[in-house]
Protein backbone atom coordinates (compact mmCIF):
# COMPACT_ATOMS: atom_id res chain seq x y z
CA UNK A 1 0.00 0.00 0.00
CA UNK A 2 2.79 2.38 0.73
CA UNK A 3 4.23 2.20 -2.76
CA UNK A 4 1.00 1.67 -4.66
CA UNK A 5 -0.01 5.32 -4.88
CA UNK A 6 -1.90 4.69 -8.09
CA UNK A 7 -4.83 3.43 -6.13
CA UNK A 8 -4.63 5.48 -2.97
CA UNK A 9 -7.90 7.34 -2.75
CA UNK A 10 -8.45 9.63 0.21
CA UNK A 11 -11.27 11.65 1.63
CA UNK A 12 -10.94 15.18 2.97
CA UNK A 13 -9.39 15.16 6.40
CA UNK A 14 -7.91 11.67 6.20
CA UNK A 15 -4.59 11.26 7.88
CA UNK A 16 -1.81 10.47 5.42
CA UNK A 17 0.71 7.88 6.48
CA UNK A 18 4.10 9.45 7.07
CA UNK A 19 5.80 6.77 5.02
CA UNK A 20 3.99 8.01 1.91
CA UNK A 21 5.49 11.45 2.14
CA UNK A 22 8.55 11.52 -0.14
CA UNK A 23 11.90 12.52 1.22
CA UNK A 24 14.67 14.21 -0.66
CA UNK A 25 18.10 15.24 0.42
CA UNK A 26 18.13 18.72 -1.03
CA UNK A 27 14.72 19.82 -2.29
CA UNK A 28 11.96 20.88 0.08
CA UNK A 29 8.65 19.07 -0.13
CA UNK A 30 6.19 20.72 -2.51
CA UNK A 31 2.48 20.37 -1.99
CA UNK A 32 0.21 20.67 -4.99
CA UNK A 33 -3.51 21.33 -5.22
CA UNK A 34 -5.77 19.54 -2.83
CA UNK A 35 -3.31 19.21 0.06
CA UNK A 36 -2.83 21.43 3.04
CA UNK A 37 0.02 21.62 5.51
CA UNK A 38 -0.93 22.02 9.15
CA UNK A 39 2.15 22.77 11.15
CA UNK A 40 4.18 21.13 12.53
CA UNK A 41 4.05 18.04 10.37
CA UNK A 42 0.52 17.11 9.32
CA UNK A 43 -0.42 16.95 5.65
CA UNK A 44 -4.16 16.82 5.16
CA UNK A 45 -6.16 16.41 1.94
CA UNK A 46 -8.86 18.99 1.37
CA UNK A 47 -10.69 17.21 -1.47
CA UNK A 48 -11.72 13.67 -2.22
CA UNK A 49 -9.51 12.13 -4.86
CA UNK A 50 -6.38 10.26 -5.69
CA UNK A 51 -3.14 11.05 -3.90
CA UNK A 52 -0.22 11.23 -6.30
CA UNK A 53 3.38 11.26 -5.15
CA UNK A 54 6.36 12.20 -7.35
CA UNK A 55 9.56 11.24 -5.54
CA UNK A 56 11.92 12.70 -8.12
CA UNK A 57 10.62 16.21 -7.79
CA UNK A 58 9.74 15.68 -4.14
CA UNK A 59 6.17 16.74 -4.64
CA UNK A 60 2.73 15.37 -3.89
CA UNK A 61 -0.70 16.45 -5.00
CA UNK A 62 -4.27 15.33 -5.46
CA UNK A 63 -6.02 14.35 -8.67
CA UNK A 64 -9.71 15.02 -8.29
CA UNK A 65 -12.75 15.61 -10.40
CA UNK A 66 -14.61 18.51 -8.94
CA UNK A 67 -17.81 20.02 -10.17
CA UNK A 68 -16.95 23.68 -9.87
CA UNK A 69 -14.07 25.38 -11.59
CA UNK A 70 -11.99 27.64 -9.32
CA UNK A 71 -9.74 29.92 -11.37
CA UNK A 72 -6.02 29.46 -10.76
CA UNK A 73 -3.18 31.51 -12.11
CA UNK A 74 -1.74 30.53 -15.51
CA UNK A 75 -4.71 28.34 -16.42
CA UNK A 76 -5.91 28.32 -20.01
CA UNK A 77 -9.66 28.79 -20.12
CA UNK A 78 -12.43 29.26 -22.67
CA UNK A 79 -14.69 32.10 -21.70
CA UNK A 80 -17.82 33.58 -23.18
CA UNK A 81 -18.10 37.35 -23.42
CA UNK A 82 -21.07 38.56 -21.39
CA UNK A 83 -20.80 42.28 -21.98
CA UNK A 84 -18.26 45.01 -22.34
CA UNK A 85 -17.72 47.66 -19.70
CA UNK A 86 -15.23 50.53 -19.72
CA UNK A 87 -12.00 49.19 -21.28
CA UNK A 88 -12.96 45.70 -20.18
CA UNK A 89 -14.79 42.65 -21.33
CA UNK A 90 -16.72 40.74 -18.70
CA UNK A 91 -16.17 37.11 -19.50
CA UNK A 92 -18.13 34.22 -18.10
CA UNK A 93 -16.03 31.18 -17.19
CA UNK A 94 -18.68 28.99 -15.63
CA UNK A 95 -22.41 29.19 -15.06
CA UNK A 96 -23.68 31.09 -12.02
CA UNK A 97 -20.29 32.47 -11.05
CA UNK A 98 -18.83 35.95 -10.99
CA UNK A 99 -17.46 37.18 -14.31
CA UNK A 100 -13.79 37.44 -15.00
CA UNK A 101 -12.41 40.66 -16.45
CA UNK A 102 -10.49 40.77 -19.73
CA UNK A 103 -8.94 44.13 -20.59
CA UNK A 104 -9.62 45.24 -24.14
CA UNK A 105 -5.96 46.02 -24.63
CA UNK A 106 -4.79 42.55 -23.63
CA UNK A 107 -4.94 41.25 -27.20
CA UNK A 108 -2.16 40.97 -29.72
CA UNK A 109 -1.69 44.21 -31.58
CA UNK A 110 -4.40 46.07 -29.68
CA UNK A 111 -3.93 49.77 -29.09
CA UNK A 112 -6.27 52.42 -27.85
CA UNK A 113 -7.34 53.11 -31.43
CA UNK A 114 -7.67 49.54 -32.65
CA UNK A 115 -9.56 47.32 -30.30
CA UNK A 116 -10.89 43.82 -30.84
CA UNK A 117 -14.56 43.65 -31.77
CA UNK A 118 -16.03 40.98 -29.56
CA UNK A 119 -19.79 40.67 -29.59
CA UNK A 120 -21.81 39.40 -26.70
CA UNK A 121 -21.63 35.63 -26.64
CA UNK A 122 -18.30 35.35 -28.43
CA UNK A 123 -15.82 32.74 -27.22
CA UNK A 124 -12.29 33.61 -26.24
CA UNK A 125 -9.32 31.44 -25.35
CA UNK A 126 -7.49 33.23 -22.55
CA UNK A 127 -5.03 32.73 -19.74
CA UNK A 128 -5.80 33.57 -16.11
CA UNK A 129 -3.51 36.31 -14.85
CA UNK A 130 -4.82 36.96 -11.38
CA UNK A 131 -7.02 34.68 -9.35
CA UNK A 132 -7.57 34.75 -5.62
CA UNK A 133 -10.54 34.39 -3.41
CA UNK A 134 -10.86 38.10 -2.65
CA UNK A 135 -11.18 39.45 -6.19
CA UNK A 136 -12.68 38.56 -9.54
CA UNK A 137 -10.37 36.72 -11.90
CA UNK A 138 -8.44 38.62 -14.54
CA UNK A 139 -7.62 37.19 -17.95
CA UNK A 140 -5.34 38.05 -20.82
CA UNK A 141 -5.29 36.98 -24.45
CA UNK A 142 -1.66 37.80 -25.07
CA UNK A 143 1.47 36.54 -23.47
CA UNK A 144 2.73 39.32 -21.24
CA UNK A 145 6.36 38.45 -21.80
CA UNK A 146 6.46 38.21 -25.58
CA UNK A 147 3.46 40.29 -26.59
CA UNK A 148 2.28 37.58 -28.99
CA UNK A 149 -1.01 35.74 -28.85
CA UNK A 150 0.42 32.18 -29.00
CA UNK A 151 -2.89 30.60 -29.74
CA UNK A 152 -4.98 32.78 -27.46
CA UNK A 153 -7.69 35.13 -28.62
CA UNK A 154 -11.20 34.93 -30.03
CA UNK A 155 -12.48 31.55 -31.26
CA UNK A 156 -14.56 31.96 -34.39
CA UNK A 157 -16.89 29.38 -35.82
CA UNK A 158 -17.02 25.93 -34.39
CA UNK A 159 -18.79 24.93 -31.23
CA UNK A 160 -17.91 24.60 -27.56
CA UNK A 161 -18.78 21.47 -25.65
CA UNK A 162 -18.93 21.06 -21.89
CA UNK A 163 -16.79 18.32 -20.36
CA UNK A 164 -15.97 17.43 -16.81
CA UNK A 165 -13.06 19.21 -15.16
CA UNK A 166 -11.12 15.98 -14.83
CA UNK A 167 -11.29 15.23 -18.55
CA UNK A 168 -10.28 18.79 -19.39
CA UNK A 169 -7.24 18.48 -17.18
CA UNK A 170 -6.24 15.15 -18.72
CA UNK A 171 -6.68 16.54 -22.23
CA UNK A 172 -4.32 19.36 -21.38
CA UNK A 173 -1.56 17.10 -20.08
CA UNK A 174 1.58 16.96 -22.16
CA UNK A 175 1.50 13.16 -22.39
CA UNK A 176 -2.21 12.71 -22.37
CA UNK A 177 -2.14 9.08 -23.44
CA UNK A 178 0.33 7.80 -20.87
CA UNK A 179 -0.51 9.91 -17.89
CA UNK A 180 -4.05 10.97 -18.60
CA UNK A 181 -5.47 7.99 -20.40
CA UNK A 182 -7.17 9.98 -23.14
CA UNK A 183 -6.27 9.54 -26.75
CA UNK A 184 -9.60 10.17 -28.40
CA UNK A 185 -8.59 13.38 -30.14
CA UNK A 186 -5.47 11.87 -31.63
CA UNK A 187 -7.40 8.82 -32.77
CA UNK A 188 -10.00 10.93 -34.48
CA UNK A 189 -7.28 12.82 -36.26
CA UNK A 190 -5.67 9.57 -37.31
CA UNK A 191 -8.93 8.51 -38.93
CA UNK A 192 -8.59 11.39 -41.33
CA UNK A 193 -10.91 13.96 -39.82
CA UNK A 194 -9.75 17.56 -40.10
CA UNK A 195 -10.54 19.70 -37.08
CA UNK A 196 -8.89 21.89 -34.51
CA UNK A 197 -9.57 22.04 -30.81
CA UNK A 198 -9.00 24.32 -27.87
CA UNK A 199 -9.32 22.89 -24.38
CA UNK A 200 -10.22 25.13 -21.49
CA UNK A 201 -9.42 24.10 -17.96
CA UNK A 202 -12.84 25.34 -16.91
CA UNK A 203 -14.48 22.33 -18.50
CA UNK A 204 -15.07 23.59 -22.06
CA UNK A 205 -13.65 22.21 -25.29
CA UNK A 206 -14.01 24.17 -28.51
CA UNK A 207 -14.00 22.25 -31.77
CA UNK A 208 -13.64 23.99 -35.10
CA UNK A 209 -13.83 22.45 -38.53
CA UNK A 210 -15.06 23.12 -42.03
CA UNK A 211 -17.66 20.39 -41.92
CA UNK A 212 -20.34 20.49 -39.21
CA UNK A 213 -20.52 16.70 -39.27
CA UNK A 214 -16.95 16.54 -38.00
CA UNK A 215 -17.66 18.99 -35.23
CA UNK A 216 -20.66 17.00 -34.05
CA UNK A 217 -18.72 13.78 -34.24
CA UNK A 218 -15.84 15.07 -32.18
CA UNK A 219 -18.28 16.46 -29.63
CA UNK A 220 -20.05 13.13 -29.38
CA UNK A 221 -16.76 11.31 -28.94
CA UNK A 222 -15.73 13.63 -26.14
CA UNK A 223 -19.03 13.35 -24.35
CA UNK A 224 -19.08 9.56 -24.52
CA UNK A 225 -15.49 9.36 -23.30
CA UNK A 226 -16.37 11.60 -20.42
CA UNK A 227 -19.62 10.02 -19.36
CA UNK A 228 -18.54 6.46 -19.94
CA UNK A 229 -15.14 6.97 -18.33
CA UNK A 230 -13.55 5.07 -21.21
CA UNK A 231 -9.95 3.96 -21.16
CA UNK A 232 -7.69 4.01 -24.20
CA UNK A 233 -8.86 0.69 -25.64
CA UNK A 234 -12.50 1.60 -25.33
CA UNK A 235 -11.78 4.99 -26.86
CA UNK A 236 -10.26 3.25 -29.87
CA UNK A 237 -13.39 1.17 -30.34
CA UNK A 238 -15.59 4.20 -29.87
CA UNK A 239 -13.75 6.18 -32.50
CA UNK A 240 -13.94 3.34 -34.98
CA UNK A 241 -17.66 2.95 -34.40
CA UNK A 242 -18.40 6.63 -34.79
CA UNK A 243 -16.38 7.01 -37.95
CA UNK A 244 -18.09 3.98 -39.43
CA UNK A 245 -21.50 5.41 -38.61
CA UNK A 246 -20.59 8.68 -40.22
CA UNK A 247 -19.45 7.01 -43.42
Amino acid sequence: MATDTKSLYVLPGDAIDKSLVPRHKKQPLRLGPGLRHIPPSAIVPTTAGQLVVEPRKNSMWMEYNGGRYVPAQNDLVIGQVQRSAAELYLVNLAAHTASATLPQLAFEGATKKTRPQLAQGALVYARVVLANRHMDAELECVSAATGKAEGLGPLTGGMAFDVSLGLARRLLMARSRDEGGVEVLELLGAEGLAFETAVGRNGRVWVGSDSPKTIVLVGRALRETDEGRLDVEQQRKLVKRLVREMR
Binding site: H37, P39, T101, L130, N132, H134, M135, D136, E138
Partner: protein, 213 residues
Protein backbone atom coordinates in the same frame (compact mmCIF):
# COMPACT_ATOMS: atom_id res chain seq x y z
CA UNK B 1 -38.60 81.94 20.17
CA UNK B 2 -35.46 83.81 20.78
CA UNK B 3 -33.80 82.86 24.00
CA UNK B 4 -31.10 84.67 25.83
CA UNK B 5 -29.94 82.38 28.57
CA UNK B 6 -32.34 79.42 28.78
CA UNK B 7 -30.55 76.09 29.00
CA UNK B 8 -33.49 73.78 28.47
CA UNK B 9 -35.30 75.27 25.51
CA UNK B 10 -35.51 73.32 22.27
CA UNK B 11 -34.70 74.78 18.87
CA UNK B 12 -35.73 73.48 15.45
CA UNK B 13 -33.63 73.89 12.32
CA UNK B 14 -34.02 77.41 10.99
CA UNK B 15 -35.25 78.84 14.25
CA UNK B 16 -34.09 82.33 15.06
CA UNK B 17 -31.95 82.39 18.18
CA UNK B 18 -30.86 85.97 18.42
CA UNK B 19 -28.93 88.74 16.76
CA UNK B 20 -25.28 88.22 15.95
CA UNK B 21 -24.44 91.41 17.80
CA UNK B 22 -25.42 89.83 21.08
CA UNK B 23 -24.31 86.23 20.65
CA UNK B 24 -21.39 84.29 19.22
CA UNK B 25 -22.19 81.32 16.94
CA UNK B 26 -21.21 77.91 18.28
CA UNK B 27 -21.59 74.36 16.95
CA UNK B 28 -25.05 73.67 15.60
CA UNK B 29 -25.81 77.28 14.66
CA UNK B 30 -25.19 79.51 11.67
CA UNK B 31 -25.38 83.21 10.85
CA UNK B 32 -27.71 84.58 8.18
CA UNK B 33 -28.37 88.27 7.67
CA UNK B 34 -26.64 89.08 10.99
CA UNK B 35 -28.96 86.78 12.88
CA UNK B 36 -28.16 83.54 14.61
CA UNK B 37 -30.23 80.58 13.49
CA UNK B 38 -30.21 77.00 14.72
CA UNK B 39 -29.01 74.32 12.29
CA UNK B 40 -30.12 71.28 14.24
CA UNK B 41 -33.03 70.00 16.24
CA UNK B 42 -31.78 70.04 19.76
CA UNK B 43 -31.28 71.78 23.05
CA UNK B 44 -29.90 75.31 23.10
CA UNK B 45 -26.92 76.01 25.33
CA UNK B 46 -25.49 79.38 26.11
CA UNK B 47 -22.00 79.51 27.46
CA UNK B 48 -21.36 82.23 29.92
CA UNK B 49 -19.07 84.88 28.56
CA UNK B 50 -15.68 85.22 30.09
CA UNK B 51 -15.83 87.85 32.79
CA UNK B 52 -14.29 90.92 31.31
CA UNK B 53 -11.13 91.76 33.17
CA UNK B 54 -11.67 94.71 35.36
CA UNK B 55 -9.49 97.73 35.00
CA UNK B 56 -6.02 96.53 35.76
CA UNK B 57 -4.17 98.46 38.34
CA UNK B 58 -0.51 99.17 38.19
CA UNK B 59 1.34 101.25 40.63
CA UNK B 60 1.44 104.21 38.40
CA UNK B 61 -1.26 103.78 35.84
CA UNK B 62 -4.84 102.52 35.58
CA UNK B 63 -5.87 101.20 32.19
CA UNK B 64 -9.33 100.17 31.11
CA UNK B 65 -9.21 97.21 28.69
CA UNK B 66 -11.15 97.61 25.49
CA UNK B 67 -14.17 95.39 24.99
CA UNK B 68 -13.09 92.26 23.14
CA UNK B 69 -15.52 90.29 21.04
CA UNK B 70 -14.95 87.18 23.12
CA UNK B 71 -17.17 88.58 25.77
CA UNK B 72 -20.34 87.70 23.93
CA UNK B 73 -22.03 84.52 25.14
CA UNK B 74 -21.78 81.59 22.73
CA UNK B 75 -24.97 79.86 21.64
CA UNK B 76 -24.78 76.24 20.57
CA UNK B 77 -27.36 73.62 19.73
CA UNK B 78 -26.66 69.97 20.43
CA UNK B 79 -28.76 66.95 19.67
CA UNK B 80 -28.27 64.75 22.69
CA UNK B 81 -29.14 67.15 25.41
CA UNK B 82 -26.67 68.07 28.05
CA UNK B 83 -23.81 65.87 27.04
CA UNK B 84 -20.89 67.68 25.55
CA UNK B 85 -19.89 64.84 23.25
CA UNK B 86 -20.26 65.78 19.64
CA UNK B 87 -20.25 63.32 16.75
CA UNK B 88 -16.72 63.45 15.46
CA UNK B 89 -16.46 63.52 11.69
CA UNK B 90 -13.23 62.79 9.89
CA UNK B 91 -11.81 65.98 8.42
CA UNK B 92 -9.27 66.41 5.65
CA UNK B 93 -5.84 65.71 7.07
CA UNK B 94 -6.99 63.52 9.95
CA UNK B 95 -5.26 60.20 10.52
CA UNK B 96 -7.83 57.43 10.81
CA UNK B 97 -7.78 53.72 11.51
CA UNK B 98 -9.95 51.60 9.26
CA UNK B 99 -10.66 48.00 8.35
CA UNK B 100 -10.49 46.80 4.74
CA UNK B 101 -13.82 45.33 3.68
CA UNK B 102 -13.36 44.71 -0.04
CA UNK B 103 -10.65 44.96 -2.67
CA UNK B 104 -10.99 45.46 -6.42
CA UNK B 105 -8.18 45.98 -8.91
CA UNK B 106 -8.69 49.77 -8.77
CA UNK B 107 -9.44 50.53 -5.12
CA UNK B 108 -9.78 49.17 -1.63
CA UNK B 109 -13.05 49.80 0.20
CA UNK B 110 -12.59 50.36 3.94
CA UNK B 111 -14.76 51.04 6.98
CA UNK B 112 -13.42 53.95 9.06
CA UNK B 113 -13.48 53.00 12.72
CA UNK B 114 -11.33 55.46 14.67
CA UNK B 115 -10.66 59.11 13.87
CA UNK B 116 -7.66 60.50 15.69
CA UNK B 117 -8.22 59.16 19.19
CA UNK B 118 -11.99 58.83 19.26
CA UNK B 119 -13.88 55.71 18.36
CA UNK B 120 -16.61 56.68 15.93
CA UNK B 121 -20.18 55.82 16.73
CA UNK B 122 -21.10 55.14 13.12
CA UNK B 123 -18.87 53.40 10.59
CA UNK B 124 -18.10 55.62 7.64
CA UNK B 125 -17.07 54.07 4.36
CA UNK B 126 -13.82 55.12 2.73
CA UNK B 127 -11.97 54.39 -0.50
CA UNK B 128 -8.25 53.98 -0.99
CA UNK B 129 -7.64 54.32 -4.71
CA UNK B 130 -4.80 52.44 -6.29
CA UNK B 131 -2.89 55.66 -7.05
CA UNK B 132 -3.07 56.71 -3.40
CA UNK B 133 -1.55 53.57 -1.94
CA UNK B 134 2.08 54.55 -2.38
CA UNK B 135 4.02 57.68 -3.11
CA UNK B 136 6.36 56.09 -5.66
CA UNK B 137 5.62 53.91 -8.72
CA UNK B 138 1.92 54.61 -8.49
CA UNK B 139 1.07 52.86 -11.75
CA UNK B 140 2.66 49.58 -10.72
CA UNK B 141 0.69 49.14 -7.53
CA UNK B 142 -1.25 45.90 -7.17
CA UNK B 143 -4.04 46.09 -4.63
CA UNK B 144 -3.77 42.38 -3.87
CA UNK B 145 -0.16 42.90 -2.79
CA UNK B 146 -1.01 45.94 -0.64
CA UNK B 147 -4.19 45.12 1.26
CA UNK B 148 -6.42 42.15 1.98
CA UNK B 149 -9.94 42.12 3.39
CA UNK B 150 -9.79 42.19 7.18
CA UNK B 151 -6.58 44.20 7.53
CA UNK B 152 -6.47 47.18 9.86
CA UNK B 153 -4.99 50.17 8.05
CA UNK B 154 -3.80 53.57 9.24
CA UNK B 155 -4.66 56.12 6.57
CA UNK B 156 -5.06 59.83 6.08
CA UNK B 157 -8.21 61.52 4.83
CA UNK B 158 -7.46 63.41 1.64
CA UNK B 159 -10.98 64.36 0.61
CA UNK B 160 -14.45 64.37 2.04
CA UNK B 161 -15.53 62.73 -1.19
CA UNK B 162 -19.05 62.18 -2.36
CA UNK B 163 -22.18 60.93 -0.70
CA UNK B 164 -20.94 57.42 -0.13
CA UNK B 165 -17.23 57.55 0.59
CA UNK B 166 -14.37 59.44 2.10
CA UNK B 167 -11.16 59.28 0.08
CA UNK B 168 -8.13 58.07 1.98
CA UNK B 169 -4.46 57.77 1.23
CA UNK B 170 -1.65 55.61 2.60
CA UNK B 171 1.10 57.34 0.66
CA UNK B 172 3.45 57.94 3.54
CA UNK B 173 5.86 55.70 5.39
CA UNK B 174 3.91 55.65 8.61
CA UNK B 175 0.62 54.89 6.87
CA UNK B 176 -0.43 51.43 5.78
CA UNK B 177 -1.38 48.08 7.24
CA UNK B 178 -0.83 47.83 11.00
CA UNK B 179 -2.60 44.54 11.76
CA UNK B 180 -2.86 41.65 9.36
CA UNK B 181 -4.05 38.06 9.57
CA UNK B 182 -2.47 35.34 7.46
CA UNK B 183 -4.28 32.86 5.22
CA UNK B 184 -3.79 30.25 7.90
CA UNK B 185 -5.57 32.48 10.41
CA UNK B 186 -2.67 33.61 12.57
CA UNK B 187 -1.61 37.12 13.50
CA UNK B 188 1.35 38.29 11.45
CA UNK B 189 4.38 40.41 12.25
CA UNK B 190 5.95 42.94 9.87
CA UNK B 191 9.26 42.05 8.31
CA UNK B 192 9.93 45.02 6.04
CA UNK B 193 7.96 47.69 4.24
CA UNK B 194 6.17 45.21 2.02
CA UNK B 195 6.00 41.90 3.89
CA UNK B 196 4.23 40.45 6.85
CA UNK B 197 5.27 37.06 8.21
CA UNK B 198 3.22 34.41 9.94
CA UNK B 199 5.36 33.08 12.81
CA UNK B 200 3.70 29.68 12.90
CA UNK B 201 3.86 28.65 9.25
CA UNK B 202 6.82 30.83 8.30
CA UNK B 203 5.10 32.07 5.15
CA UNK B 204 5.19 35.74 4.34
CA UNK B 205 2.50 37.74 2.62
CA UNK B 206 2.74 41.01 0.76
CA UNK B 207 1.16 44.12 2.23
CA UNK B 208 1.86 47.85 2.30
CA UNK B 209 3.26 47.94 5.82
CA UNK B 210 3.03 51.01 8.07
CA UNK B 211 6.26 52.03 9.74
CA UNK B 212 5.89 51.41 13.46
CA UNK B 213 6.31 54.42 15.67
Amino acid sequence: MATSSGTTSIATPGQLLGPASKFQPGPGTHIHNSNLYSSLLGVVHASQPAKPPGPSKRLTKITVPTQTPAELPTLSVSRTGVSEKREVLPEVGNTVLCRVTRITPRQAVVAILICGDTVLEAEWQGLIRVQDVRATEKDKVKIYESFRPGDIVRAEVISLGDQANFYLSTARNELGVILATSEAGNNMYPVNWKEYMDPETGLSELRKVAKPY
